[in-house]
Each structure stands twice: as C-alpha cells, then as structure tokens.
C-alpha cells in the first residue's frame, strides 16, 4: 500500500495568524508597568482617559502613593514636552522645591540619575531615597518599588494644609503643575490632567489624604479612574 503523506498545508493557518497578529499590533497599547495592580471601581461615565498630558496618582491598598507622568504627544512639541523631557524638567523643579524647604538635608542628583528618572513610568520613593534608587539597575528598581512592606517606598503623604511647608506629594504635584508645559497645566485646570486611581476595596480614609492634599493645592478638579460598568451592575 502506498503510504499517505501526513503533510498538512499550513499556508491558510499562517494567513490567519498573520491577520490576527496585525490586528493585535494595531489595536494594542502596551500595559504600563505599575508597582501594584489595582482593580478600579466601575461607573457609568464614558469619558476616556487621556493618553497625553496626564499626571496619574496611584494609591495602593496599603496607602502608598505613586505618580506617573505622561507628556505631550504632539509631533511639534514632542522634543520639549514629550514624556522624557517633561519628567526631567519636573524632577529638577521638584528637587529645587524640596531643597528650598529642607535646607539642612538637600539632595543632589547626577546627570545619569536624572536620565534614569526620565525613563521610569511610575515612581514613588521619598526624596531622601531618590538618589540611591535612581542609581540602581532597572530590575532592582522594579523589585524595590513593588515591595509594599518597605518604608522607603511610596511618596510620603500626610494631612497638611500649610501651603508654606508642603509635604512631598504636594511638592511633586506643584512641580508638575509648574513644569512650564502649558497643555499639561490647562488639562490640570480642567480636571482632565490629574487622575486618581485606587483599588475599589481601599478604605476611604486611605484615599482621603490624597484628595485632601490636592484640595489644599487648589487642584479641586480632577478625574477618578474607573472601569466601565457592565449591564448586570
């Protein structure tokens, strides 16, 4: 008997996979690295999160605060106010503000450390720990920042209404507002430029400090990140 060939023609299969691949490549936006994964509560609001000119504040269930900054995406302004350039400007501004308020313990950053900062999507360490954190390799940074039990992770936030002596979170937000990027400032005034993200089970007392601090800074309008409500809810 003649043996039948078991060769299967894979061309059709290949066509399908290439199509699928193209689809995924075109529709995808990459997941941003975040130190903790939070499940946002759902709402009926249909406003989309802007991808450019956004300062998002992540509050972990433990109450640790992280900030992520996205800059301008316009082709003309990308060089001056794109995410990386913007982060550098904000870091300089924040360090200046911090050193002014803490003249006894100023911090200084090298050019490499500033460059490293501009590559980080989401940051959250106290100012005193910042130089050491920025000198680490990226894998080490990720390891440090996702360890919620460490004391030197998360931007310190407390209940502070004194505009003369800002806490570290307020310094960062002030620096972001004063970065010089007009589009970001405009978005922040409208309330679209600040997004607060927290887990749905997080107690209100934990998020309250962040909201209160924003209020003190007169950033009364901001957005809250939510997921779309499903039909049954």
């Amino acid at each position: 008997m003649k043996r039948k060939s078991t060769l299967i023609d894979m061309t059709a299969m290949s066509d399908v996979t290439v199509l699928l691949l193209t689809f995924f490549m075109l529709t995808s936006t990459f997941l941003q690295k975040e130190p903790v994964t939070v499940l946002t509560p759902s709402s009926v609001s249909e406003q989309k999160v802007p991808t450019a000119n956004l300062a998002s504040v992540l509050v972990s269930p433990e109450g640790k605060v992280f900030i992520s900054i996205a800059g301008d995406a316009d082709a003309e302004t990308k060089d001056t106010w794109g995410s990386e350039a913007l982060r550098k400007t904000i870091l300089e501004e924040a360090v200046k503000l911090y050193n002014k308020q803490h003249p006894t313990k100023p911090i200084a950053l090298t050019q490499q450390q500033v460059d490293a900062f501009s590559k980080i999507n989401m940051f959250g360490v106290p100012f005193q720990a910042l130089p050491a954190f920025l000198s680490m390799s990226q894998t080490d940074q990720d390891k440090v920042i996702s360890d919620m039990s460490r004391a030197d992770v998360g931007i310190p936030v407390n209940d502070n209404k004194d505009m003369e002596r800002l806490n570290e979170f307020q310094i960062w937000m002030r620096a972001i507002y004063n970065s010089g990027n007009d589009n970001l400032q405009k978005a922040m005034k409208k309330g679209e430029g600040i997004a607060v993200k927290a887990d749905k089970d997080t107690p209100y007392s934990t998020v309250h400090d962040v909201l209160d601090n924003l209020q003190t800074l007169k950033m009364n309008r901001f957005s809250i990140m939510t997921a779309l409500k499903t039909e049954q809810e």
Partner: protein, 249 residues
Amino acid sequence: MAQIEQSDGGKKKKGAQKKMSIHVDFTPMVDMNMLLITFFMLCTTMIKSQTLTISLPSNEKVEQNQMNKAKESEAITLILTTDRNANGDVKKDENGKPINTVYYYEGMADYTDANGDGILDNNKLKAEHFVGNDGKIQQGIRKILHDRNKAVLDKIEVEKTRWRNKEFAPGNSAANDSIYQARAREIRNDSTLTRPVVIIKATPEASWESLISALDEMQINQISRYQIDNINKADSVLILDYLAKNPKK
C-alpha cells in the same frame, strides 16, 4: 497552496521543461506567529479605563454670612459605609458583592434627646443600599434620589424621547446629540425646578467603590448639585444611634 504544482509531463514529452514541485513548509512560520500573538495578547490592554471628573469645594475660608447655604428642604445627606471584617477586608454577601450601606437623612439632622438617655428621640437616619435597577424600576438609594429629582428627570425624559426620534436635527446625529446634551444641561441647572442638594460623606472604612457608586448615582439621576464633605462626630452619633435601634442580623 504552498507548493507550485505542475503536471509531471517530463517523461512524456521530450524537450518539455522539467517541472519541479516547490513545497514550502509553513509550520515554523505558524509557530512563530502564534508566539508573537501570545506575546501581544498578554502585553496589551484592550479596554481603556474610563474617568469620572469631580470637583471638590475650595478649601478657602468663607465668611459665615457669605456661605452658600442649601435650603433645608432641598438637602439630602448620604453617609457611606462598608462592612469590613477584623482584618479590614471587605465583607461580601452571598452573591459575592461587597456590603456597602448608604445611610441618609433629609434636611437637617435632629439630635434632640429630651430625656437624656443617650437615645435620640427623632433620628431621621435611614439605611439603603446600592442595588441599581430592577428592569425599569429604580431600587434602593437610586429610587430615593430619583424621587427627589423627579422634576428634572421628567423634563429630561421628554427631551430624551425627542433625541431618540432625532427631532433636534434630523439626519445629523452629531448635532442631535449636542443639542440634546445642551438641553439636558440646561434642565439640570434650572433653578426654578425643585432640585436636591446632595452632600456625600464617607466614613473612614467606606470603600473607594462605594464613593464612586455614590458619585455614579448623581450622574444617573442627573443631579447637578452635590458635594463630598468630611464626616464629623455628629454623623457618627446618628449612625451609632441607628445601629442601636436596628441591630444587624
């Protein structure tokens, strides 16, 4: 498909070109594509999250006489709380939904305790839940807010029907939408209608989700005047008194 097949006439006729069958094996290609697809599927977010814009009241001190006071008849205060167990984890009911309770009172709270026994004589506090709709019928806290804002909702409902029938701008759905939105906004902010003022207060243990649900109810019920306020001792007194009178099962 992957091979270029030609009839093997090589043997039959002289001079005819020898024809080859070219087979390309696509299996490794498919393998690689599958790997790439898996990678993209795992690394992407398809759903973009939504946002909800809120504005908090300004922190600046306002003189007592310049304060914007809500009329007592219009005010409704919601106090949010979430049941938690000893570890601080949110308790879930049998359907796996978190137990969020909304206490509410209308107008001013009544703290009178004439005989001084620590039990309030006339505690107006009531408890409700976020239960959403049962078909078309509002339930729970949504029903209460719906009834309070009925004047606005009825008017918007009329506009909504006109919007559905595309009466504002026939044939131009974008213009139809924007005219409807503008009209709805006008009705929401129409001070001649009886509209409630909602004050939302969250207890420290209230989950973030319950606050968002409360803000969501404002959107659903087209309430334009609401604010988030800090909880104070008097509110806790009301809740404790309520719980003393209506112990949890």
